[in-house]
C-alpha cells in the first residue's frame, strides 16, 4: 500500500493495486452505505438479545423472547391439529364399517394414516408395507390376513398388538413345538403333506393326512384353511409368512414361530389407530366389512 498516488485522468487517489497496468481507484462509498452498515450492527445486537444466538456447551442462549424452533414447530402442529379437530373427532366416533362411504373423512384418514405408518410401522413392516418374510413381519399388501382384514380387524390388531402380555385384549396365537412330540420321520411326512395342500409337492398319502388330522387340524382346520380366531394361517394358499420351502416348513413344525407386535393404543390416539388402519386397509388387501 506504499504506492498511494493520484490518478492522472480523474484526480482520484489510487489504492496502489494494479492489474495488467490497470490501477484501482479509491472511490469512496456513499455515506448512506456506512449508515446502513451501522444499522445492521445495531440490528445484530438487538437480535442477539431477543433470540437464541450464542452457542454454549449444551444448547445456546435462549434470548429474552424465549423463542425456539422446536416451540414454533409445536405451535404449528397444534394449529394443524386444531384446524383438523372436527375431522379427528368424527374419525374417532365414526363406525369403521361406514368409513369408506364418507369420502372426505376416508381420504383424511388415509393421508394421516400414511404418516402414522411411516413413523411407527415401517420399521418392521417396511416403507412399502411389504413386510420381511425372513423375520416373520407380514406383508400388508396382499390379501392374506392371519387375524382378518376388515377395517375393524386391522384397527383391533393395531390397538392391542399381538402376543402382548400387558393387554388382555391382545391377540394371542399358540402353536406347540412338535420337535419333541413327533418322530423325525413323521415330521418329514407332515412337511410333505402341508406343502402338498398348496400344491408345492406331491401328497405323501394317507400317513401324512392322518398325522395332520391328529396334530394340526384342530387349529388349521381339516382342509388346512386356517382359523382367524386363533390366528392359524391358511396352509392352502400361495402365501407363506415364514417361507414355504421344505426346510422353512420343517423348522416351523419343529420349533413353532410366533410374531409379536406391540400395542399402539397407549402411544397413538384412537384417531391415529383408526387412520393407520384405514391406510393399511387401502394398500390393496383390505376386506369388506361383513354385512356391508
Amino acid at each position: 500500500m506504499s504506492g498511494k498516488r493520484l490518478d492522472e485522468a480523474t484526480g482520484t487517489e489510487t489504492t496502489g493495486h494494479s492489474w495488467d497496468g490497470i490501477e484501482e481507484l479509491n472511490t469512496p462509498l456513499p455515506r448512506w452505505w456506512l449508515w446502513t452498515f451501522y444499522a445492521t450492527i445495531v440490528w445484530g445486537i438487538i437480535y442477539v438479545i431477543l433470540y437464541p444466538a450464542w452457542p454454549l456447551v449444551s444448547g445456546a442462549t435462549s434470548g429474552v423472547l424465549g423463542w425456539s424452533t422446536r416451540g414454533e414447530v409445536a405451535e404449528q402442529i397444534d394449529a394443524v391439529n386444531l384446524s383438523n379437530a372436527e375431522l379427528i373427532d368424527s374419525l374417532t366416533t365414526t363406525d369403521l364399517a361406514v368409513l369408506p362411504a364418507n369420502e372426505a373423512l376416508h381420504g383424511f384418514a388415509i393421508q394421516a394414516g400414511a404418516s402414522v405408518f411411516a413413523n411407527n410401522c415401517s420399521q418392521c413392516h417396511g416403507r412399502g408395507a411389504a413386510g420381511v418374510q425372513a423375520a416373520g413381519y407380514p406383508n400388508l399388501l396382499d390379501d392374506d390376513w392371519l387375524w382378518g382384514g376388515t377395517l375393524d380387524d386391522i384397527a383391533q390388531t393395531v390397538r392391542h398388538g399381538i402376543r402382548n402380555d400387558e393387554d388382555l385384549d391382545a391377540r394371542w396365537s399358540e402353536m406347540p413345538a412338535f420337535g419333541e412330540m413327533l418322530e423325525d420321520e413323521e415330521i418329514t411326512t407332515l412337511v410333505a403333506h402341508v406343502r402338498s395342500l398348496s400344491g408345492l409337492t406331491e401328497a405323501p398319502g394317507t400317513a401324512g393326512e392322518e398325522l395332520y388330522l391328529d396334530n394340526c387340524a384342530s387349529c388349521h382346520g381339516d382342509n388346512g384353511l386356517g382359523d382367524r380366531v386363533v390366528g392359524a394361517p391358511n396352509l392352502t394358499d400361495a402365501i407363506w409368512l415364514y417361507g414355504g420351502s421344505a426346510e422353512d416348513v420343517e423348522y416351523t413344525i419343529r420349533n413353532a414361530r410366533f410374531g409379536v407386535m406391540p400395542p399402539w393404543q397407549g402411544r397413538l390416539g384412537e384417531a391415529q389407530v383408526r387412520a393407520v388402519a384405514a391406510y393399511v386397509h387401502s394398500l390393496g388387501g383390505g376386506e369388506a366389512q361383513i354385512g356391508e
Binding site: P30, W32, A130, A238, I239, G284
Partner: protein, 512 residues
Amino acid sequence: MTDQPLFAAQEPIFPRKVRGTFRNLKWVVMIVTLGIYYLVPWIRWDRGPNLPDQAVLVDLAGRRFYFFWIEIWPHEFYFVAGLLIMAGLGLFLFTSALGRVWCGYTCPQTVWTDLFILTERWIEGDRNARVRLWKAKWDAHKWRLRLTKWVIWGLIGLATGGAWVFYFADAPTLLGDLVTGQAHPVAYTTMAILAFTTVLLGGFAREQVCIYMCPWPRIQGAMMDEGTLTVGYRDWRGEPRGKPRQNREGDCIDCMACVNVCPMGIDIREGQQMACITCALCIDACDEVMDKIGKPRGLIDYLALSDAPPDTLAERVAANPIGIRATGDASTIPAPGAPAPAPNASPVPILTRADIKGWKPQPVWKHILRPRTIFYTIAWALIGVALVVALFIRPEIDMTVAAVRNPTYVTLSDGTIRNAYDIRLRNKHGEARDFHLSLNSDEILRIVVEGRDDLVVPVPPDSTTRTRVYVQARPGDPAAGANRVDLRFWVEDLISQERAYVDTHFLGTESN
C-alpha cells in the same frame, strides 16, 4: 486529496427539464408501461363458471397462472422458464445493439424515478428553484412544499403496491376488501412494503440504486463491444470546448446543458462511464443548443466506440500507419479494422482537424445488424416458436404413471402376481369428467382400480386425482413368471373421447 474519506455524502442531483425526441420517447414508454402495470389486472376474461374471470391472474393458492386464454398448471412451468430465457436473451440482444437501453427507458427504477422527478418539478419548480429550495432554511414554505411532495410520493407508492396485489386475486373483490379492511394481512403487508420501497428507491435513492445496488451495470459490460451503440460525445468535433464568441475550434460551448439534464449526475463528455443509463436526455439537451448556435445536431449522439477516430492525429497515424489519404474527405479514410492496403503505399500525409471534425459514424443499421445481434435474435425466436408450438400441442388430457417398486410385486393368496401403479389424472375442464382406464400389452394382464369395481375414475373439475391401479397376472401365465413385460396405459375422457397413453412395465417373479 490524499486524506480522502472512506465514505462520501450523496451529491444531490437536480435534473433540468428537457424537450426533444428522446424525452418524448421516454414519456411514451412511461405511459405505456405504467398503463400496462396499472390496468392489466382489471381486464376481464370470461372462462365460464367456477373459474376466475380475470384475464391475468397468478392464483398461488390454486397453483394456476391465467393469462388470457392460456392456463398454466404447475407441471407446465417450463413455459415460465422459457419466457425467462427469452427475457434474458432479449436483454443480451438489446444490450449488444443499443447498450443500456433497458436501463434508460423501461427499467421500473427509471420509470418510477422519472414519475417522482415529474412530481417534484411540478411542486418545487425546475432545477434552479429546486437548488434554491435545497439550500433554503427549513421554514414554513419549505416544509409545505416538501410535505406536499412526500404525500404525493406516498400516494404513488401506495398505488404501486396496490396494483401489485391485484395480480394475485380478483381485482374488484380485493379492492372492496382493501377499502373495507377485510383483505388478508398479506395483501396489506405487501402493499406497505412496496409503497415504502417505491418511495425510498424512486424518491430518495434514485441514481444510487443504479450505481451501487443494481448488478446489471456490472454484467452489461460483458455484453457490449466496440460496435454497440451507446450515448456518446463526439470529442473530435466538440474539443477544444469554450464559451461562445471566445476563440475556439470545437463545437462544444461548455453550456453544461448535458450535465444539468442528466438524472445520473454525470458529464457524458468525459466518455463512456458505468453510471450512464443511456437515457439520451443529454442528446435532446445538446441538440437544442446546437440548433440555437447554428451548428449541426449530433455533438452528443448515439454512437459506438468503433465510430470514433483515434484521439490525436499521431495516434491516428499509429493506428493506420499506411494507406491514409489526406484529401479532406472523410469517406476515403478507412474505418478502424478495415483491411490494410498494400504495404508499399506512399508515406502518410497529415490530416487536418477538418477531416476529423467531419468524421461520420457507421450507419445505425450496421450497428444493429451484426452477426452477434442476428444470433441472439435467432436464438430468441427459436425459443419463442418452440413455446408457441408447445402451447398448441400440449394435451388437454394428461396422465402420469408412477410404478410402485417397493416392493416390485406382491404375491396374492391364489398365486396371482400383482404390480401397483400410482396414476395421476388431470382434468383441465371446468366440469367433472370421467376417465376410463385401459391396458394394452402382448401378455395377458388384468387391470384393477383400487376401491372401484369398474375402470372409470371420476375427476373433479379443474383438479388432479391420484389413483392406485393394480395390474395382475394369473399364476402360470407367462407374465407372472417373466422378468419384465411392456405395457401401455390408455386413458380416455368419456365425454370428449380424447385419449392419451403412458408406457411402463410389469415385473414378474423373475425380476428379483
